[in-house]
Symmetry: C2
Subunit: 334 residues, 2 copies
């Protein structure tokens, strides 16, 4: 079995072989193939830039792997600002001894995710660290996309009278990683929701440029992301617990493990906040897209004495403050 | 002593504290402070994008640290394509247990390097991995800069009749990391050459837009970088060993450790390849800059039967092929 050696990170002949035989073969495009220190891109006007490092454990999980996740995660962040993701850089940190076949599987998955999403990997970097100095593989991706909407969505724009929509069920990714890492099996298998959301966002913004906020509830889950938005906008966010889509198998798995799906990471979901009168149309647009079929209106923004907070209308009719995630139940979720 | 906890990477309250109290405090600028999923930038025309992940060990070394290195390294790669570096993203992977004061020292150094270079850190990401899953700290930076020169320098443009210049002495960074890691002390201390080269490059390209190639000889050193260029351009590169500046203390340290300075990494040097008739002026421009004071003309490009190769005119009058680095003597050099 071939394994990654320190030589592959030397910058010398073995590095070149790895670049030619693995990265260029899978990622190949004219920009990357110039092999200069930087990629030369054409960009005009306002550009969204986002970076994310992926350290997920295990590297491969039901519904995806660190490669596809690294593409989806950064594409989504670019798109949340109204950017049309076009270019990605990638930086690999590889532990000496990683099986080459595993690396290739992940690189191929990355290439496929990028191709399906219509983005090019235009520049990259590979470091190999000695055994024990990293755990198998970490991937950084940084993405760029032109912003065409006049007034880009942003957390600070949530306003009184807005509706809050989620594009689908929550908790799928977090529970999948957790159970996959621990080797747990549920009666109905769970699967990560890792997906690129930029097409859905493009359709939303093309028709409804008035969207105030788009945000993907990744680490810390729906609850934490809503708290960030509440803090940025100083609005009071209220959420109807009953309206939040949670898959039965996720609800069951969470209840078994004592986890709250509202705090679990999602990798293919977005929160959309926009004026209430546009919410039905936004819901229709979302539901027409495969990644938004289970979209739902889950709450709204009011002004009130709990400005900056998130209030949950519970299933049994009460109200409670939904706070930010405290502590860390699940490291290396993304 | 305060240490980084897994909580700091959760995306929840502790993450937010780390972002506010450490990253925003040091990196603060209006774009970063929006705290949205992506940064909104203004860019026009051709843009150079480059990414680099830094895994250097030790984190702090004579002449710099992983923070300043992460800024200089990526700025330089953007500049080598004729880009004027303006924006940086940064992605941190932190090992649980890292001392907060050490992280802060590095973040402060990064902020200072960015400020001195006139670039803004506009978006970032922090992951914390459990103890043992990474070695202390890795940093990815991705940089952007507008390209104003009509015909950007590139490895493939090296042509017959060109001169090859180096902006200063070689081997300083590699030997410093090596000796610093091993706790070796030399009579005359060595120091990393880590520096931002974009001002020097701007002056060069403003006056001499005909420059064919700019490349920083980092991993694999001068020898490996020249081989890359020879392969890209299919020219024969000849180098006069005697003309290559090497500091006496670096020569001495290398001879003691059995290392060849031509294969050691540099982090503040550039190779410049341009038509021979412009080489004297290029040398003058370089020498006027503090980072180019020891610049030298070290060789040229000819056509010949050794196309794609690098030929070294040795000190004793012979010739030998200077090959790419084989193997890896020094992992985690940058």
């Amino acid at each position: 079995m071939q394994r990654i050696l320190l030589d592959h990170g030397s910058g010398g002949r073995a590095s070149l072989r790895l670049i030619n035989e693995l990265f260029l073969r899978h990622f190949g495009n004219a920009i990357l193939e110039s092999l200069d220190d930087a990629a030369c891109l054409e960009l005009n006007g306002r550009v969204a830039m986002s970076t994310d490092t992926f350290t997920v454990d295990p590297l491969i999980f039901p519904g995806g792997d660190i490669g596809s996740l690294a593409v989806h995660g950064t594409i989504n962040d670019v798109a949340m600002l109204g950017g049309d993701p076009k270019y990605l850089s990638c930086g690999f940190i590889i532990e000496e001894g990683l099986e080459l076949s595993l690396l290739e599987r992940i690189v191929a998955s990355m290439a496929q995710a990028a191709e399906l999403a219509g983005v090019s990997i235009v520049t990259g970097d590979t470091k190999v660290v000695p055994r024990g100095a990293a755990d198998k593989l970490f991937i950084n991706t940084t993405g760029l996309g032109s912003i065409s909407v006049a007034n880009p969505p942003g957390g600070a724009r949530a306003a009184e009278g807005d509706a809050v929509l989620i594009s689908g069920s929550v908790g799928d990714h977090g529970l999948t990683i957790m159970s996959s890492r621990e080797g747990l099996e549920f009666e109905t298998p769970v699967q990560s929701d890792s997906a690129a959301l930029h097409w859905l966002i493009k359709r939303l913004l093309d028709e409804l440029p008035e969207v105030h906020v788009l945000r993907d509830p990744t680490r810390g889950g729906l609850a934490t992301t809503l708290n960030e938005i509440a803090a940025q906008s100083a609005g009071e966010v209220y959420i109807n617990e009953e309206a939040i889509p949670v898959k039965p198998e996720v609800r069951e798995g969470c209840s078994f493990l004592g986890l709250d799906p509202l705090y679990l990471a999602n990798e293919g979901k977005l929160l959309c906040i926009l004026p209430e009168e546009l919410s039905d149309r936004a819901l229709e647009i979302m539901r027409q897209d495969p990644v938004g079929r289970e979209a739902a209106i889950i709450g709204g923004i009011v002004s009130g004495r709990r400005a900056g907070r998130v209030v949950l209308q519970t299933r049994i009719g009460g109200q409670r403050l939904l706070t930010m995630l405290e502590g860390e139940q699940l490291p290396r979720i993304c």
